[in-house]
């Protein structure tokens, strides 16, 4: 036997072992690891004596938090509770901020009138640039200032690794890497950051799956839109004391839908375009720690909140100005904005949105944060002048523009599933180094969003629910 025949024999051997593995449904990988662990456990039990109570506390808590029965409900409750705290806590400061910022707008308008500045300058700068920035600030800052510290707190407490641990076997079932749960958590903060964090996944196949599906968890740029619409429609009709609870419930359900889509798409990808087996990983569960409050506040406020806010404002300000110009430059009887919205109307109508909503999502490509502000601005520029300092007023504005509960649900689902923002796409291009995969990262969520909204709308219409 020389070298060549030997390498041939080796590849034959590989084929043989492949046959054995596939006939027994690939149970060996897991089984081998669990057998090694069992041996280690047995030996450790014999040769190590522990008399420590502190350790028992950690393992007891771990048993509850990572149990197959109680693990998921507890995770769900924690998620719901955080969202509830965010929504109920953000309501009041949001109102105050909005009131303060819009009263400054009045002062600015007064100044422009006093100096005799031309109307268009006042429009672009105050009604466009300033107003959209004020919107972003008042809608986004309070929820972020509450959500991010809470999220960082969970990270510091050591809860996030347990969440990853719980989700691991679900990802395995989808033949993806368990580490994807960590990149998914990262996506809750920012999808672009989530895509970068996919570097921790070693297998190129699993990394691609994680990158392509990261967009299905809502990032902080989309929370404000979801929270605002959820509060207005899901809870608007109910008595005051249930509003936040219902809104938190709606967002929780939406996040669950996002996670379900993540699993489904991961499963589909690993059975079609990216075929392969899941690799296992070792996840060390760190001990529970007392969080360092100061560092939590610093990390969440400086690193996340201010960073995201800055990015949002930089993009929102010019986008506001552009939206104002589009809404105020007339061709024929209608503004450019209305022309475009009318052009989009047939498509948008089929998926239960209207032209303005779809246009807002398209204009929001640079950053998801500005979708809702753009939408409000385009409605406002069409002549409905409302003081937007209460939820009821907002609801009136939307309803007078033809919104129903179906529009609200579709908008939220579209927001959850639609294309990633430009930053995420650029990051995807950098991380995958391939235009093809980046295009798929754009095309796949877009198709899914359109399909889901279309099916939902048509079903509701056929069933005559609306």
């Amino acid at each position: 036997m020389n070298y060549a025949t030997k390498s041939q024999a080796l590849s034959n051997l590989w084929e043989d072992s492949n046959k054995i593995r596939t006939t027994s449904e690939n149970i060996f990988s897991d089984k081998i690891v669990s057998d090694i662990y069992k041996s280690a456990e047995l030996i450790a039990k014999k040769s190590v004596r522990k008399n420590s109570k502190k350790l028992d506390f950690t393992s007891k808590l771990d048993n509850i938090l990572t149990s197959k029965i109680t693990g998921y409900p507890i995770m769900l409750i924690i998620l719901g509770f955080i969202l509830w705290l965010t929504i109920s806590g953000a309501n009041f400061p949001s109102k105050i901020l909005a009131k303060a910022l819009f009263s400054i707008q009045d002062i600015l308008t007064g100044l422009f009138l006093a100096t005799g500045a031309p109307d268009w300058l006042h429009g672009v700068l105050v009604l466009g640039l300033y107003r959209s920035s004020a919107w972003v600030l008042s809608v986004m800052l309070p929820p972020m200032a509450i959500f991010f510290p809470l999220f960082t707190l969970l990270e510091d407490l050591g809860v996030l690794p347990r969440v990853a641990f719980n989700l691991d076997h679900l990802f395995k079932k989808a033949k993806a890497c368990g580490k994807q749960s960590l990149t998914m958590c990262m996506g809750f903060g920012c999808n672009a950051a989530g895509v970068v964090s996919c570097r921790i996944i070693d297998s190129p196949r699993e990394r691609l799956i994680a990158i392509l599906t990261n967009n299905f968890v809502p990032c902080n740029g989309r929370y404000p839109t979801l929270i605002a619409i959820g509060t207005i429609f899901g809870a608007g009709s109910l008595a005051q004391q249930y509003q936040t609870t219902v809104a938190a419930g709606i967002i929780t359900i939406l996040i669950l839908i996002g996670i379900a889509v993540t699993f489904t798409v991961s499963w589909l990808l690993s059975h079609t375009l990216l075929k392969g087996e899941a690799s296992s990983m070792v996840l060390e569960l760190p001990p529970y720690r007392k969080p360092k409050i100061l560092s939590v506040i610093y990390r969440s406020i400086i690193d996340r909140t201010l960073f995201v806010l800055k990015r949002a404002l930089i993009i929102a300000a010019p986008a506001g100005a552009i939206t104002w110009i589009m809404a105020n430059v007339f061709i024929g009887d209608f503004s450019i904005l209305t022309h475009t919205a009318n052009f989009l109307q047939p498509v948008a109508g089929a998926i239960g949105l209207d032209g303005f909503i779809l246009l807002a999502f398209i204009l929001g490509l640079p950053a998801n944060e500005i979708v809702f502000p753009i939408l409000i601005m385009s409605y406002l520029s069409n002549g409905y002048i409302v003081e937007l300092d209460s939820i009821t007023e907002l609801q009136n504005l939307l309803v007078s523009n033809g919104w129903t509960w179906l529009t609200a649900v579709n908008t939220m689902i579209f927001c959850l599933l639609h294309w990633p923002c430009a930053t995420t796409l650029i990051t995807t291009l950098k991380e995958t180094g391939s235009k093809k995969w980046t295009f798929l990262a754009f095309l796949m969520p877009t198709c899914i969003a359109f399909a889901v909204c279309f099916i939902l709308t048509q079903t509701v219409h056929i069933l005559g629910l609306i």
Binding site: L10, K31, A40, D202, S279, M281
Partner: protein, 261 residues
């Protein structure tokens, strides 16, 4: 133990970038992250260190020399890993070095405060090589937490020498050096025990074993271990065996095959 191929130094140099001096015993240092591996490395080698990268990888590699009695040792610090099932680059490097680098002794460092998790790695290494010494480090920290490790019992369970150390306080190091010395000199014979796997795995291993034994790679790798890796679906092991065979000068290789045939 089988005799090492004559050209083993080529393997060490080309695949791992390691050139031991003549008669220098190579010791691989393996262990989970954060078990005090680096502290032990520094305590043993002092300033006689050389750091760089593993060939073609962006993973740090540290080598250090020390002498005990009349024997010179070259200590190779492997990347800290939880397992050596080759799921990450670090794990692959650690595994390949133990497999193909054939260190004279593999020293596995365990954290005394979490033996259960750490023993996994020791068991996995024991499947590849029999020249292994286990070092239970952070023994002082374990004492503080009221954890008592019975090293004699552990020695019996594993079938390899077990030394308790605290690299930070430099306790147990002399005993460790003595054991390394004895194993490297072949004066202390280790007999690592096999992991018993579930029936379905043992059955599948038995199907593959004759095919692997036909290949005559027993001088490089333990056939049972190769069977387990194949069942694990680890394709890299095949290509790595090929790469390893590629480095063997064919003359020597064919001569060896003739003898064995």
């Amino acid at each position: 133990m089988h005799s090492l191929p004559i050209d083993h130094s080529i393997i060490l140099r080309n695949l791992f970038g390691i050139t031991p001096k003549q008669n220098q015993a190579v010791i691989a240092l393996a262990g989970n992250p954060n078990v005090g591996k680096s502290t032990l490395f520094n305590a043993l080698t002092g300033l006689r260190q050389h750091t760089g990268n593993w060939p073609g990888k962006t993973v740090d590699n540290a080598q250090g020399a020390f002498t005990y009695k009349d024997k010179s040792f070259l200590l190779i610090d492997l990347p800290g890993t939880y397992s050596i099932l080759a799921h990450t680059v670090e794990e692959e490097i650690a595994r390949d070095f133990i497999c193909f680098g054939k260190p004279n002794v593999t020293l596995v460092v365990l954290d005394a405060t979490s033996m259960e998790r750490n023993l996994n790695l020791a068991l996995q290494v024991m499947e590849i090589t029999s020249n292994i010494v286990v070092c239970v480090n952070l023994i002082d920290e374990a004492k503080k937490q009221n954890i008592i490790v019975d090293t004699t019992l552990l020695e019996n369970e594993l079938g390899v020498p077990v030394i308790a150390t605290s690299a930070r306080n430099k306790t147990g190091l002399k005993e460790l050096c003595e054991t390394l010395y004895l194993v490297a000199r072949g004066k202390l014979i280790t007999q690592p025990k096999n992991i018993t796997y579930s029936e379905e795995i043992e059955n599948a291993v038995n199907i593959l074993l004759p095919k692997i034994e036909q290949l005559n790679i027993g001088c490089i790798l333990n056939p049972r271990w190769v069977a387990l890796r194949l069942l694990d679906g680890d394709k890299k092991i095949i290509s790595n065996i090929c790469r390893y065979l590629d480095l063997q000068p064919s003359k020597y290789y064919e001569r060896e095959v003739e003898i064995t045939l």
